[in-house]
Symmetry: C2
Subunit: 358 residues, 2 copies
Amino acid sequence: MSNQALQNDLFLRALRREPVERLPVWLMRQAGRYLPEYNATRKRAGSFLQLCQSPELACEVTLQPIDRYGLDAAILFSDILTIPDALGLGLHFVEGEGPRFHRRIESAADIQSLPGPAAMESLRYVADAVGLIRKTLNGRVPLIGFSGSPWTLACYMLSGGSSGDDFLTARKWMYSQPVLVDELLAKLVEHVSAYCQMQIEAGAQTIMLFDSWGGLLPASQVSRFSLQPLSRIVHSLRAARPDIPVIVFVKGGGHWAEQVVSETGCQAIGLDWTVDLGRVRDQVGRQVALQGNLDPAVLLGSPAEIRAQARRVVESFGTRVSGVGHIFNLGHGISQFTPVDHVHHLVEAVAEASTQAA
Amino acid sequence: MSNQALQNDLFLRALRREPVERLPVWLMRQAGRYLPEYNATRKRAGSFLQLCQSPELACEVTLQPIDRYGLDAAILFSDILTIPDALGLGLHFVEGEGPRFHRRIESAADIQSLPGPAAMESLRYVADAVGLIRKTLNGRVPLIGFSGSPWTLACYMLSGGSSGDDFLTARKWMYSQPVLVDELLAKLVEHVSAYCQMQIEAGAQTIMLFDSWGGLLPASQVSRFSLQPLSRIVHSLRAARPDIPVIVFVKGGGHWAEQVVSETGCQAIGLDWTVDLGRVRDQVGRQVALQGNLDPAVLLGSPAEIRAQARRVVESFGTRVSGVGHIFNLGHGISQFTPVDHVHHLVEAVAEASTQAA
């Protein structure tokens, strides 16, 4: 990892809630199927998993949206399910059906026999990708590392893959075997912590934790199964590296924003498109930065509409404090159907709206 | 429709927020695949759609859960997509993939050429089912009629069926062609109103409007695309029949409960499993009844756990006012994997918890 000075630190300054001259912008899943250059690299890789596992190719696609759009942060190209794969569940992808595992967690014995955090060593290829990306970026923009959250990983591990029924199987476990689920989550806290620590040591300058399915939890269980495990990870990472901010994104959890902030100790929260940024800002005050929340469907509309909606998101945060703690992003991953030039319109519109509003 | 006196009016009294000696309970999708007698009738019908379209068989399955469990309300057996089917879109079901239409709405011309509310006459089989169910129930419990909401119907009609991407296509329309979406919703308001009116005339004693996908809307758009169309339906139904209560269920919209109540003018709201009943009660005050919100996954657990969670839901409403405006239900449809005897445990537990708490 090189220690080059950052040429563009808008993203890190916004995370620290320092004033910025323009809102930083990056997009969840920014290296993805809407980009022709991504599809070309993926074809060379053979499969999505082979693309994740090759540091050179993962580095290549990570930089593609930075080169094309001049975005203000890069995010490691990988998958949230690398950890269960490293634990021996056998990740694979079925065309049109999403991720699947060859085996799933079915018993207490399955949980107890899961390997410890040393198993993360088999994800060394991720650290190698991080190191290579940092070197190749050469200080252009900061690099974000990431992991799935314990609850979200548990959802997939208990259900055996993606789900058409809101992870009914995982929710059944939560009610009928809560202590076993605690045990599984405790193991995953160790794995996620070790995995993120490895990414930080390799050069990740921010960590984002994706709790994609925290919004499926009943209000009474959110703390125990989603937020407390996240809190243990945030505190372990911050104890070792207080200079590395952590972003927590609980999809569908925007209405618990205050609880996410107070329980996890994170430095920023991600917000999906269903909540109003200004309302969340009123709730959480000045404690954390907010990242989000444009609906990815907006990018399928006309350039004029994209500009109008981007401005609306910027203004919803509150024009008087624009740029103090807001990172512009989508509320969910960019759609594969997004026309490539539409992202140019978005980036320009955010720049215009945020410099005028500042 | 016979005018027989009701032998069990707990459900209607709870809807009016009158005191009850025991909480009424019914379950969304209570006539469904977890019941062996349902599967036997469905087999005789040939297909799900043929089952919906036969008043005799629809009546038979509607009464099955009443006979087996002594639930406090019956709900018409039908599908939320009967209206788009009547509008000529060609509803069919693909095994394991959910509903599909032979054609979808793709242009302004497609919207403008949709037939008017007279097309609901082709759903006369639904009214016939309602009449037959009322006659067969013979006053045992009240009968609920229902419809999908305009926004939810529009989601399916614009996407061509169920969706693996949170109805991205419908959300694209909302941003890029909002006036056309208004036009589509205005037509659907007329259709849904006429359809519910037909059910009321045939004997439905309550109407429930299912906005299954309202929770996908950005906060800034909820009023325009979900709640205002619902409000026009509620007001049209109530103007004609102020004695018939209307329940509005916006799945994923529990955190807008106050707005749902104030904007739609409904008499009760349905709540999914992610919200806390007591918190919602504090927000909406005494204006409406609340229906919900046990996680259907609870019914896959042990009898002891089912009893504990049922008690928790009853108590979360607030023990001092238990029975004043609470209708016990699930937060979503019952799972096909529910063991049939588990519903007995649930019904008993609600009775015990609510009579003790009263």
